[in-house]
Symmetry: C2
Subunit: 331 residues, 2 copies
Amino acid sequence: MKKIINDPNQTVFDMLEGFTTAYPNRVKQLEGTSVIARKDAPVANKVAIVSGGGSGHEPAHAGYIGKGMLDAAVAGEMFTSPTPDQVLEAIKATDSGNGVFLIIKNYSGDVMNFEMAMEMAEAEGIQVEKVIVNDDVAVEDSEFTTGRLGIAGTIFVHKIAGAMAEAGASLQEVKDMAERVVNHVRSMGMALSSCTVPAVGKPSFELADNEMEIGIGIHGEAGIHRKPVGTADEIAEELTEKIITDLPYKEGNEVAVMVNGLGATPEMELFIVNGKVQKILHEKGIIVYRTFVGNFMTSLEMAGCSVTLLKLDSELKKCLDAPSDAIAFRV
Amino acid sequence: MKKIINDPNQTVFDMLEGFTTAYPNRVKQLEGTSVIARKDAPVANKVAIVSGGGSGHEPAHAGYIGKGMLDAAVAGEMFTSPTPDQVLEAIKATDSGNGVFLIIKNYSGDVMNFEMAMEMAEAEGIQVEKVIVNDDVAVEDSEFTTGRLGIAGTIFVHKIAGAMAEAGASLQEVKDMAERVVNHVRSMGMALSSCTVPAVGKPSFELADNEMEIGIGIHGEAGIHRKPVGTADEIAEELTEKIITDLPYKEGNEVAVMVNGLGATPEMELFIVNGKVQKILHEKGIIVYRTFVGNFMTSLEMAGCSVTLLKLDSELKKCLDAPSDAIAFRV
């Protein structure tokens, strides 16, 4: 295992410190917690947006904190759900009396712990609502999780729920729009290589020298199949076709596209994949409104990528285009 | 070699297509060239800023195109200087009569080809000035290059020259400020692993399983020494101490910090390095004005990082903080 770390059991702690010291005017770490919040939290007269999950997916989730996106992000241990008490801290620190909206990726642990925190917060008189993101079209039930997984499409939920909240929407209105995103977003990923959780010290899984896995999850959950590494065009086609037929996305639909790197993929390769994705969409008469290429939801040093499509309407476009000063999401 | 590409000899072509189709409202590719320019180039009443170099360093250089940064970026082949005629195309396409400023990283090929293009442009009556960036403190003369190499500090030159140009400065004023950045910026990098140029098909160099290289260049140029992989704190200390003593940066100085990933390094590790860099600076009484953490100047899928410090004054701060809409640089 070659990593730039100190104590393998302290990587999340060290990372959070390095994050808050990088952006001291934007964010704060809640004392004694693994919660990062907007420096100015709680923000008055606004629904607060809270997300989070296991660490190892940076810039998710703290990178999306900022005006127009998240009010707080809860960091679990590596690839491990944050505990309910940590989520509760985030809820309490961000609620300004207008309620808190939780964005949860569909992993059994995350769902359970966020929902438990939600109950604890409600018991303290805080209004809380939630959405569960399950954009991964690859497999229906994966290891430890019932239903589809939540992956990079979550970033669009952050952005659009965040824009609604910033514009003064009610908790119910934020929830309705977040659900609209979940209903209209689909993703699928693939990997060329595995990754190593520092405290474990060995790769999560193994791929042969000429093998790739299609449909892999962001923790290395088994995908659809393994096969010899294809060309970028073949990879883009397999991912995009499965996504398009799933919703389905149709001729005349307007979409936002995200080509996401899993951590160790050169940006060059992401752009090569994007070139083919754009061609496929163009051929099908699906109109691309905006494109996002980069590392948005990673799996440590996994090499690979995912493709996400979000079907847009005029309200979703307005939210997508709304200003945000989150470090990791440029509109 | 595991990569998400099509023809290994067409990676730059495919990447440029994927880049321009991702951001069709921001950029355009000059027909028949490997030059990407601002969509609205040439921008009237403004000095144009042009940079570029070999490909494989994404988001450098096209990611820095935008209002307040670059007007055009010239992409060479992988790790290979762009040819003079390509640079000339960029100059001609961006000049609005106010002159063109070239930002060149100190590599013999880049310097030679950009200077040749400069002479060709001047022969056509276009005013051109240049700066040569040589921020890498690791080695004095490296393979193929006399003097110090230009690495991630170049991004600060893009930003500050771009801000000057956007604010209406003359060609000479842009040049003076760019030289001030070069005089005040220092960087050093390290690698845990090598990278593979697609058309070559094998790693540029080899590092043993428990070995890192300190002072490596962004094309794998030999650094100061190889040794067993240290902790993040040790790595941060070795890089930062050498940088600080070089200028030197002194107690009371204000600096911008950049912790840059070389392509395959998880963002988590960059933040861990940043945590220690901030502590070292704090202990020395060096004041951090702003911090940038991410992949700014990469070497394909090399694992490793670099640290950059820029000593600031009030004018440099103003330029650093000026708005920019470049995709890869958020202020």
